[in-house]
């Protein structure tokens, strides 16, 4: 059985770092696509040159021509403008919609059997754009959000308790923005809810920091946003799909009534395997959690509605 192919659309910091993480797993041939052809080819070569030292042995190819993604099993869309200080949110929405839509059409043409992972922001809205533009089955378009948000939450908990990261698990629902819904009672250390291990003030502080996790990094970098953790989250999803790992984790999935939400991508626990989103799990939520999720969902709904005012196909 030939090795599978994974293509990454957008070879910026997130795309290139995701490519690197996936290369190190030695599970797929890799193609990076970017309009900046020279830069993309250069990064591909640079990765290949590092292979003998890092011990991975997979072809990595940088290109501008979408024909190179032919027959990919998984395509990750990271292309898009990053939010810059002072940038109008609507302008960003419009620009990234154009980019994701164009990429999606190429994917539908060259890699019609792929599962598509969306990383471009605003995440939940871009998932919607990709689903419509590819025309793919609902389970084959999925957004990277909850794995990143819960990774940050896990780090903050481990840091506060001084325990190993590997002991901490977490669940974050909702849209990928500051209205995300981290769940303290489903955030655990060796299976013990943090509500038994930390006081409420500490938990509140950690949940707040999680919601603002992306902004905290932007605040330091000034001219850029986080890419190591987002790329790691995307690579984790790629691995789960390629290796059919049946990984239960929060991802942005298209809902048809689950959690009382229709026709919208929202972060929920899913099982990721070779068929993309293979299952959506519905958790019992408290009234407060349900209310938070409703607020978060309303924010995503607003973004999709705005989209529909600009574009006929949305």
């Amino acid at each position: 059985m030939p090795r599978k192919k994974v293509s990454i659309i957008g070879a910026g910091n997130v795309g290139a770092t995701a490519t690197y993480y996936i290369a190190e797993k030695v599970i797929a041939d890799l193609v990076m696509i970017d309009v900046a052809e020279g830069m993309t080819r250069a990064k591909g070569l640079d990765f290949l040159h590092a292979g003998p030292l890092r011990g991975y042995d997979v072809p990595i190819y940088g290109a501008a021509d979408y024909a190179q993604i032919a027959d990919s099993s998984v395509v990750v869309i990271t292309a898009g403008l990053a939010r810059k200080p002072g940038m109008d949110r609507m302008d960003l929405l419009k620009a990234n919609t154009e980019i994701v839509r164009a990429a999606s059409r190429h994917i539908a043409r060259y890699a019609p059997n792929a599962t598509v992972i969306i990383v471009t922001n605003p995440l939940d809205v871009m998932c919607h754009v990709a689903l419509r533009a590819t025309g793919f089955a609902l389970n084959r378009v999925v957004g990277m959000a909850g794995i990143l948000d819960s990774a940050r939450l896990r780090f903050f908990v481990a840091e506060a308790l001084g325990c190993a990261l590997s002991s901490v698990h977490a669940m974050v629902l909702g849209g990928h923005g500051d209205q995300m819904v981290p769940l303290p009672r489903y955030t655990t250390v060796a299976g013990i809810p943090i509500t038994e291990l930390m006081d409420k003030a500490t938990i509140d502080r950690i949940m707040d920091r999680t919601r603002k996790g992306g902004a905290e990094i932007v605040g330091y970098l000034k001219t850029g946003s986080a890419y190591y953790a987002p790329a790691a989250a995307a690579a984790e999803m790629v691995e789960a799909i390629l290796t059919d790992r049946k990984h239960l984790a929060p991802c942005a999935a298209y809902l048809r009534g689950e959690y009382g939400v229709e026709d919208l991508f929202i972060g929920v626990p899913v099982v990721l395997g070779r068929n993309g989103v293979e299952q959506i799990l519905e958790l019992d939520l408290t009234d407060a959690e349900r209310a938070e999720l409703a607020t978060s969902t309303a924010a995503v709904r607003k973004g999709v509605d705005e989209l529909k005012t600009f574009f006929k196909v949305a």
């Binding site: 001084g162 190993a164 060796a190 799990l281």
Partner: protein, 312 residues
């Protein structure tokens, strides 16, 4: 690089050395009184290294003096159960072996953290701690961690998902009366009981309780050793790499969970110095009752064991 010495080169000792080599955790010294066996196994593992991609040094010796200065000492000597035997039946035979080994460990590796895999875990870990005279935070037994990994496997299988994100804590003795903390059986933070129902989870826990017997009945000639070795390596990694991971381990309790002077499984944070912190959880009424009943049982067993303790 840290050094781990494993006393006993049978299936558990040998596989523990092998997993450590693959992880590149530490240099390994494998010791056994059976001349040639540890040397042969160590050489076999070194010769697999070029293909498996590790270059961990593994030494096999028949003289225990070679363990001097080790950071971690693993007790994997002694006899294992035959079909139909109870773990408690091993006490007399294994106590004599562990006693003589500990007398040497005390003098050769006075600063080591000791990990006990010899059954019956509770009684032997307790005996080892007394014999070594080490602080109780440096003498740990494998018990709950093994049941935990078995529950995690069964739960993942029932859900049809990967086991990597699962958790399960087990406290109390490593025998049928162990107490599985059901609320800690989770996947990605979500309680498994909510996903498969209490009844199915109870059936899984019952299956995990007898998992050791199931394997012994199937294999006849040997007890399980892959999962026990994996549990040992998880604990050894936490010590050798100072990870601060939280694992269920057996240790002598001095007031934790209301118990004094008994060796039982509890969740603890593990690092280079052994146990850094015992995590005391609120138990449900049912768990509390089950735990107290198990403690009574262990106390009675301990009195019996002390009577059967061979003379030095």
């Amino acid at each position: 690089m840290k050094r781990v010495s494993i006393v006993g080169s049978g299936n558990v000792g040998g596989n523990t050395a092998f997993f450590l080599a693959e992880n590149g955790t530490a240099a390994v010294t494998l010791v056994d009184v059976k001349e040639g066996v540890p040397k042969g196994k160590a050489l076999d593992m070194m010769e697999a290294g070029p293909l498996r991609g590790y270059d961990t040094h593994i030494d096999g010796v028949d003289d225990i003096a070679a363990i001097a200065g080790s950071d971690v000492v693993v007790l994997a000597a002694g006899r294992v159960r035959k079909p139909g035997e109870d773990r408690a039946d091993l006490f007399e035979d294994n106590a004599a072996i562990v006693r003589s080994v500990c007398a040497r460990v005390r003098e050769l590796c006075p600063r080591a953290v000791v990990v006990n895999l010899v059954e019956p875990i509770g009684a032997i870990t307790m005996l080892a701690q007394e014999e070594l005279g080490f602080d109780r935070t440096r003498v740990l037994g494998i018990g709950g961690l093994l049941t935990s990994t078995r529950i995690r496997h069964l739960v993942a299988q029932a859900l049809g998902v990967s086991p990597r994100e699962t958790t399960a804590l087990v406290i109390g003795p490593h025998r049928a009366s162990m107490v599985v903390l059901k609320d800690t059986v989770r996947i990605s933070g979500v309680p498994v009981a909510k996903l498969i129902g209490d009844e199915r989870l109870d059936a899984i826990i019952a299956e995990a309780r007898r998992a050791g017997d199931t394997i012994l009945e199937l294999a006849q000639a040997s007890t399980s050793f892959y999962a026990p070795s994996a549990a040992a390596v998880t604990l050894i990694e936490a010590i050798a790499r100072d990870t601060h991971v939280i694992l269920p381990v057996h240790m002598r309790l001095e007031g934790e969970y209301g118990v004094t002077g008994l060796c039982l499984g509890v969740p603890a944070q593990i690092g280079a110095a052994g146990v850094e912190k015992v995590i005391e959880l609120k138990l449900s009424d049912a768990e509390r009752r089950a735990f107290e009943q198990a403690v009574t049982e262990v106390r009675t067993a301990l009195a019996n064991e002390q009577r059967r303790l061979p003379a030095k």
